[in-house]
C-alpha cells in the first residue's frame, strides 16, 4: 500500500465528484453571475429538491439500487395537487390535502412496485425505470380521460375545453410557495424558507432514527446479503417492498414540496425528470448504488444545481448559444449517472474476482482475473 496507490484509489472512488467540482470551477467565472445570485439560487434549490433526493436513500440501504420508480410517488403527489386545486383548497391546507390524497395512492403503487421489483432481483434499476414509464401510461389515462368523465372535476378552469381531462399546465397559484413563505427568514441579502428546511431536517432525523430501528437494521442486512438475511429469519421480500413503499411516499411528499415552489405544474410531464434529477444529484454527491448517506444528498444537490444554474449562461458566453449550455447540463447529468454506475459495477466485479481468488486458490483466481479484464 504505497502512497501513490492511495491517491489513485481516492481519485477513482471520487472521480464523479472531482470531475464535477473541476467543471464547475472552470464554468463559474464565464457565467458572469454574481455570488449573491448564485447563493440565493442554491438556498432555493436546496429547499426545492432535497426532499426528493432523500427519498432515494432507503432502497439503497435495502440493496435495491437507485429507485428510478420514485416518479410513481411524484405522480401520486400530482394527483393530490390536481384535486386540491379542483376543490379550491388553498395555502398550507391545500398542500396538506394534496399529501393526504397522494399518500394512500403512493402506498398502493409503491407496494405494487416493490412486489414487481421482488420478481426482478438483480435487475431492479432497469425494471423500476420501465415501471415509471408504465405507470406514466396509467397516470395519463387517469388524468386525461377519467378526470372529468368518472371523477367529477368542479373547476372548469383546469379542464380541457372538450369537457374532460386536465389542461397541460396547471396553475398552482392557490398553494404557490405557501410552505416556503410560511416563515421566510431574511438574512442579509438572502431569504431562507425556514419551514421547508425544518421539514427536510425532520425527514433527516427520521432517516437517522429509522436506521436504528429493527426494520432499519433488517433493511441493511437484506442489502448486505439477501441469502444470509433470509437464513437469519428476516422476511426479505417484505423488507424490500417496505423500503420501496417508504421511498414512494417520500417522493410523493417531495414532489408536492417541489411543485409548490415552482408555482405551476406541467400536468403530463412534470414527473418525467424527477428521478433523473434526484439520481444524478445523489450520485454527484458521492453516493454509489450500494452506499449513500445524508451528506451525499446535500453535497449532490448543491453541486448539480450549481452547474445547472451556471451552464446555460456559461454556454451563452462561451459558445454564443444558450442551447449548448442546456444540452450540456443534460449531458452532464446523464453522463454523471452513467459514469458512477460504471465505476461502481466495475469495482464490484473486481471485488468478486478477488473473492474467487481467495476461495479457489491463487492459480485459478489468476486466470479468472485475467479473463475479467
Amino acid at each position: 500500500m504505497s502512497g501513490k496507490y492511495t491517491v489513485k484509489r481516492f481519485l477513482s472512488e471520487n472521480a464523479v465528484i472531482i470531475t464535477f467540482i473541476v467543471i464547475t470551477v472552470i464554468a463559474i467565472p464565464s457565467s458572469q453571475l454574481s455570488a449573491n445570485y448564485i447563493i440565493q439560487e442554491m438556498i432555493t434549490r436546496l429547499g426545492r429538491n432535497s426532499f426528493l433526493v432523500l427519498a432515494l436513500l432507503l432502497p439503497i440501504y435495502a440493496g435495491m439500487g437507485l429507485n428510478f420508480g420514485m416518479s410513481l410517488g411524484a405522480m401520486a403527489g400530482q394527483v393530490g395537487l390536481i384535486l386540491a386545486v379542483n376543490w379550491r383548497i388553498s395555502g398550507i391546507e391545500g398542500l396538506l390535502f394534496a399529501a393526504l390524497v397522494g399518500t394512500p395512492i403512493a402506498v398502493v403503487v409503491g407496494w405494487i412496485c416493490g412486489s414487481i421489483l421482488n420478481r426482478a432481483k438483480g435487475r431492479e434499476m432497469v425494471t423500476s425505470y420501465m415501471l415509471a414509464f408504465f405507470i406514466n401510461g396509467i397516470y395519463q389515462f387517469v388524468v386525461l380521460y377519467v378526470m372529468g368523465m368518472v371523477i367529477p372535476i368542479r373547476s372548469p378552469a383546469i379542464l380541457l375545453s372538450r369537457g374532460y381531462g386536465i389542461r397541460n399546465t396547471l396553475n398552482l397559484e392557490s398553494v404557490r410557495q405557501s410552505l416556503d413563505t410560511a416563515w421566510m427568514l431574511t438574512i442579509g441579502p438572502f431569504s431562507v424558507p425556514v419551514v421547508t428546511f425544518l421539514v427536510i431536517a425532520s425527514l433527516c432525523l427520521f432517516i437517522v432514527w429509522f436506521k436504528r430501528t429493527k426494520l432499519g437494521q433488517d433493511m441493511r442486512a437484506v442489502g448486505y446479503d439477501m441469502v444470509v438475511a433470509e437464513a437469519a429469519g428476516i422476511p426479505v421480500d417484505r423488507t424490500r417492498a417496505i423500503s420501496i413503499v417508504v421511498s414512494t411516499v417520500l417522493a410523493c411528499l417531495g414532489q408536492i414540496i417541489f411543485l409548490q415552489n415552482m408555482g405551476n405544474m406541467a400536468t403530463y410531464n412534470a414527473h418525467d425528470q424527477t428521478s433523473f434529477f434526484a439520481v444524478a444529484a445523489i450520485l454527484v454527491g458521492g453516493a454509489s448504488v450500494k452506499k449513500a448517506s445524508l451528506p451525499n444528498v446535500f453535497i449532490g444537490v448543491v453541486l448539480l444545481h450549481l452547474l445547472f444554474v451556471i451552464s446555460p449562461r456559461a454556454g451563452q458566453n462561451f459558445f454564443g448559444s444558450a442551447m449548448i449550455g442546456e444540452y450540456f447540463r443534460q449531458f452532464i447529468g446523464y453522463g454523471a449517472i452513467a459514469l458512477s454506475l460504471v465505476l461502481y459495477a466495475s469495482k464490484a466485479r473486481r471485488e468478486a474476482v478477488r473473492v474467487r481468488e481467495v476461495q479457489y486458490g491463487h492459480g485459478g483466481g489468476k486466470k479468472a482475473a485475467g479473463e475479467a479484464r
Partner: protein, 347 residues
C-alpha cells in the same frame, strides 16, 4: 393437448392477448370506416421501417449482454453517415449506400468502445446501457450545433447556429428502398417491396451469421459463459463483437427508417427510439437472454400493427385519441413482463 398447452405457455399469454387484440382491430376496422388496404399497407411499411432496429437487439441478447437500451449509439453513427452523405452531395441509391458506408466506421468505433464499457460491468449492462445512450445523445446534441457541416439544406437558414432539427431527404434518397419494385395494391395502398426485401436480406444474413462458427460461439457465451471459456472462446471478445454488430445494425436501421420517413431527425429524437425496439422484440417472444429471427418478425409485426391500428380504429370508435396512452401501457408493460420472468437458459 398437453403439447398445445406447452406451446401456448411458451408463446406467452401477453403475446396471445396482443395478437387477438390486433386481430379484433383489423376485424373492426371496416365498421368504423377505416380502409383495410390502407391499414395493411401502413403496417407493412412500418414493419420494414422499424424491423432492423428490432433485429439489432438479437446479437446482444444472444451473447448475454441483455437488451440493448443503448441502441441510440448506433442511431447516432447512422445519423453521422447520413449527414456525411448529404454533405458529399450523393443522391439516390448512391446516397443511401454512401450513408451506410460512411456510417460503418463510426458504428464499429462506437460499438467497440461501448462493448468495452459493457464488459467491465457484467450484470448491470442494461441500466448502464440506457444512461450511456442518453449521455451520448446529449453529447451529440452539442456536436450537431458546433460541427462544421455547411450544406445549405442542413443548416439553419436565418443566421442560426448548427444543423436543423429535421432535414428533408426529398432531394437525396427519400423512399429509395420503398419505391424499389413497389407494388400498387389498390389506388391508395402501396406495398414497399424494396424495403421488405432489404429487411429480409438483413434477417437472412443474421440468421446465417448465427450459424457460423463465430455465431455459435457467441450464443455459447450468452447461455453458458463458463462452458464457453472452457472450450477456449474469449467471452469478452465475443461480447464486444456482438455489441459492434448491434450498433452497426442500429446505424443501418436509422437509415432505412429515414428513407421511408423522408426526414432526418437530429438532436433529442434518438432518445426514446431504443425502447420501441426493445418492446417489439419482447412482444415477439424473446426473453432477456434468448432471441430468434422469428421473435423479430412476429414482434415487429405485432408492435407496429398495434401502433398503426390503435390510433385509426380506437379513435374512430371512441372519438378520442387514446393511442398514445395505449402505446405507453402496452409497450412498457411488456418490457416489465419480460424483465420479471425467471431466466430460462436451457431450452
Amino acid at each position: 393437448m398437453s403439447s398445445i398447452k406447452q406451446y401456448l405457455a411458451d408463446f406467452g399469454w401477453p403475446r396471445i392477448i396482443i395478437f387477438f387484440f390486433l386481430l379484433s382491430l383489423f376485424v373492426a376496422a371496416p365498421f368504423f370506416g377505416v380502409r383495410l388496404d390502407n391499414s395493411l399497407a401502413d403496417v407493412l411499411n412500418r414493419f420494414g421501417q422499424n424491423g432492423i432496429f428490432v433485429l439489432a437487439m438479437v446479437p446482444m441478447i444472444q451473447s448475454g449482454c441483455g437488451l440493448n437500451f443503448g441502441l441510440s449509439l448506433g442511431i447516432i453513427a447512422g445519423l453521422i453517415g447520413a449527414l456525411l452523405s448529404i454533405q458529399a452531395g450523393l443522391v439516390g441509391a448512391l446516397g443511401f449506400a454512401g450513408a451506410i458506408a460512411m456510417a460503418a466506421p463510426f458504428a464499429v468505433l462506437f460499438g467497440w468502445a461501448y462493448g468495452r464499457i459493457l464488459n467491465k460491468v457484467k450484470g448491470e449492462e442494461m441500466t448502464i446501457a440506457m444512461y450511456v445512450g442518453f449521455a451520448s445523445v446529449m453529447f451529440m446534441c452539442i456536436m450537431w450545433i458546433i460541427l462544421p457541416f455547411d450544406s445549405p439544406t442542413m443548416i439553419w437558414g436565418y443566421g442560426g447556429k448548427g444543423l436543423r432539427t429535421t432535414i428533408s431527404l426529398e432531394s437525396f434518397y427519400k423512399r429509395v428502398l420503398n419505391d424499389f419494385l413497389a407494388i400498387r395494391m389498390t389506388p391508395s395502398a402501396i406495398i414497399p417491396t424494396g424495403e421488405l426485401l432489404f429487411f429480409s436480406l438483413c434477417i437472412y444474413l443474421m440468421w446465417s451469421f448465427l450459424r457460423t462458427k463465430t455465431g455459435t460461439a457467441m450464443t455459447a457465451v450468452g447461455s453458458n459463459p463458463d462452458f464457453a471459456r472452457a472450450s477456449g472462446v474469449s467471452t469478452d471478445r465475443m461480447r464486444t463483437l456482438s455489441v459492434i454488430i448491434s450498433t452497426f445494425l442500429g446505424a443501418v436501421g436509422i437509415l432505412v427508417y429515414q428513407q421511408s420517413y423522408g426526414f432526418l431527425q437530429l438532436y433529442t429524437a434518438p432518445l426514446q427510439m431504443p425502447f420501441a425496439a426493445v418492446a417489439a422484440i419482447l412482444i415477439g417472444g424473446a426473453s432477456v437472454n434468448k432471441g430468434s429471427m422469428l421473435n423479430v418478425v412476429v414482434g415487429t409485426f405485432l408492435f407496429q400493427g398495434l401502433l398503426t391500428m390503435t390510433p385509426s380504429v380506437i379513435n374512430s370508435a371512441l372519438q378520442t385519441d387514446m393511442s398514445e396512452v395505449i402505446r405507453l401501457i402496452v409497450s412498457n408493460g411488456i418490457i416489465i413482463y419480460a424483465l420479471t420472468r425467471k431466466l430460462k437458459v436451457t431450452k
